[in-house]
């Protein structure tokens, strides 16, 4: 029997989502930007309906705060690069502007051409009059994030570093949670953005998002959260949690692949971004490109289902997860949970088994789909950057396995997986017993 327990990687499409999408893959194929005929109007109406469904799930005050993208990686990049490129000024920029201001004061008006495009909108007359520091107050060059973030966030931050911005990659506590005092110390008057994921994709740990959001606003920084693993699984409310930007994707909540969204706060504060994709000006210019109408409809339906079923599904998944853990711990010694024991999304269980190589255990499990925390991809064993940040030893990481339970996981499947894991661990331990 094949069992899928890799729900944190991707989910199957819920049949109800598929049914909602079907007409937009067949009869209702219009381009949502076509304003001259009914095909376009129908598509546009469906997109706007979906926008409302997404907004409702995350507690956005208005559907216009939702920007559709191709998925979480794009949303992450748009949030991080978009905010920093829009509002940030590097130290090199400041030096350049000092020179430009000097020349401006000397009467040279042919200056915008020597500025990079990112700075071309600045008011040189104002800068020349008031000086760089005063006129660019609040335009920092610093981003704060965590070492345990998804590569889509970490790599976007590294791209910013290559552009001259500064990024602080904070360590986490051994349970995977952020150290709030350390986070506060890391924020300076130059901090533009703090990026902390809502729930970690590997270990499922949920961050104290509300406290982080409050701290950010206290220090004048914007707060972005990659909430891909949290939306639809735990309550998310951008208003009470002080979230300014939030990324989500459909395929982690029983929607289709290739579609996601970014919540961009429009009020208190109004967040403005520099787009990554230019062209037809869709999504208020923030994301050009013909809208993926069937995907967006699917995302909307996935959000609506997640919202209406959240409480019941949360309780059911917690029960299944606890059942699996209890079964394993009842029969096996040396089973360790990676990450916080309770502050986690319901369907995630990241466990390490002492004296076990998880790749070997995976073979023993036969048709069970799970993920591993370490793999033999090269001469050096590659270890998850998340487990490394938690201080997990290479030995423990080698025996780490992520079980992801979801909407379609049954009690019988959990019991079967527990049996296979117990048998597999026992066999492998016996094989290596001194």
């Amino acid at each position: 029997m094949s069992i899928y327990l890799d729900i944190n990687a991707t989910t199957p499409v819920d049949p109800r989502v598929f049914e909602a999408m079907r007409p937009f893959l067949t009869d209702k194929f219009g381009n949502a930007s076509s304003s001259t005929h009914a095909y376009g109007w129908v598509a546009q109406e469906a997109v706007e309906h979906a926008r409302g469904q997404v907004a409702a799930l995350v507690g956005a005050s208005h559907p216009s705060e939702i920007v559709f993208t191709s998925g979480a990686t794009e949303s992450d990049n748009l949030a991080i690069l978009g905010v920093v490129r829009q509002h940030g000024v590097t130290r090199a920029d400041r030096l350049l502007l000092e020179t430009v201001a000097k020349r401006y004061r000397a009467g040279d008006r042919d200056l915008p051409s020597i500025l990079p495009a990112r700075l071309s909108g600045l008011d040189l007359a104002l800068i020349a009059e008031r000086g760089v520091d005063e006129s660019l107050m609040g335009r920092g060059d610093h981003v704060v994030t965590l070492a345990t973030e998804h590569p889509a966030v970490l790599d976007a931050c590294r791209a910013l570093e290559s552009e001259g911005f500064r990024v602080s990659y904070l360590p986490v506590l051994s349970d995977g949670r952020v150290d709030l005092e350390q986070l506060e110390r890391a924020m300076t008057r130059d901090t533009l953005l703090v990026s902390v994921m809502f729930a970690n994709n590997e270990i499922g740990v949920v961050q104290p998002v509300q406290e982080i959001g409050a701290l950010c606003h206290e220090h004048g920084a914007l707060f972005f959260t990659d909430a891909v693993q949290a939306v639809g699984k735990v309550p998310v409310d951008v208003e009470s949690m002080h979230i300014d930007l939030l990324a989500l994707t459909a395929h982690k909540m029983y929607g289709p692949k290739g579609v996601g969204a970014l919540f961009v706060r429009r009020k208190a504060p109004r967040v403005t971004l520099q787009p990554l994709v230019f062209g037809g000006g869709q999504e208020k210019g923030l994301r050009s490109g013909t809208l993926n109408v069937p995907g967006i409809v699917g995302l909307g339906m996935a959000c609506e289902l997640a919202r209406s079923e959240l409480a019941a599904e949360h309780a059911r998944l917690c029960g299944l997860r606890d059942r699996l853990l209890a079964a394993l711990r009842a029969e096996l010694v040396g089973v360790h949970m990676n990450g916080h024991e309770t502050e986690r999304v319901p369907g995630n269980l990241n466990l390490s088994f002492d004296d076990i190589d998880a790749e070997a255990l995976l073979i023993e499990l036969e048709d069970v789909a799970v993920s591993l925390g370490s793999a033999c991809h090269s001469e050096e064993r590659s270890m998850s950057h998340v487990l490394k940040a938690l201080g997990v030893s290479p030995e423990r990481a080698q025996g780490s396995m992520r079980f992801g339970l979801g909407r379609f996981t049954t009690e019988a499947e959990v019991d079967e997986v527990a049996r296979r894991v117990i048998d597999g661990v026992r066999k492998l331990r016996e094989l290596g017993a001194p």
């Binding site: 790749e359 070997a360 073979i363 030995e395 080698q398 290596g432």
Partner: protein
């Protein structure tokens, strides 16, 4: 599933010659090796009869490549002359299991355990032969 060959899968699911000999079993050479990091370690036990490896056993903790290498090694060693077994190198073992290049080090651990067993055995035999009693 990680990329492993069918033969590796077969050896992990059905390891050949797993375990050790009884503690009082005579003429057993044993040796071990372990990776510098992680849990990968292997113990080899060789029942010697003159120049021949009459039987071989192993214990291994670690990745599929290591378990399969140890299992295949004992299969090849059983009944073979020690000198023939000594000629078996990590590349040959890895090739037989279709291990990728970066996993040849797993087969090398098994070879290292074999060399360790032989070195210890020969040293013990030397001591015995020099002992007038």
């Amino acid at each position: 599933m990680t990329d492993v060959s069918l033969l590796v899968l077969e050896h992990v699911r059905h390891p050949r010659n797993a375990g050790a000999f009884a503690p009082d079993e005579p003429h057993v050479a044993s040796g071990s090796a372990r990776a510098p990091e992680g849990i990968d370690r292997v113990h080899l036990y060789l029942k010697l009869e003159g120049p021949t490896v009459r039987a071989a056993r192993f214990r291994a903790s670690g990745c599929p490549a290591l378990i399969a290498s140890a299992s295949l090694f004992t299969e090849r060693a059983t009944g073979a002359a020690r000198v023939e077994v000594g000629a078996l190198d990590a590349e040959t073992l890895a090739a037989a299991l279709e291990l990728p290049q970066h996993q040849v080090s797993k087969a090398a651990l098994v070879i290292e355990a074999f060399v360790d067993a032989c070195t210890k055995w020969d040293a013990r035999e030397d001591e015995r032969s020099q002992d007038p009693r």
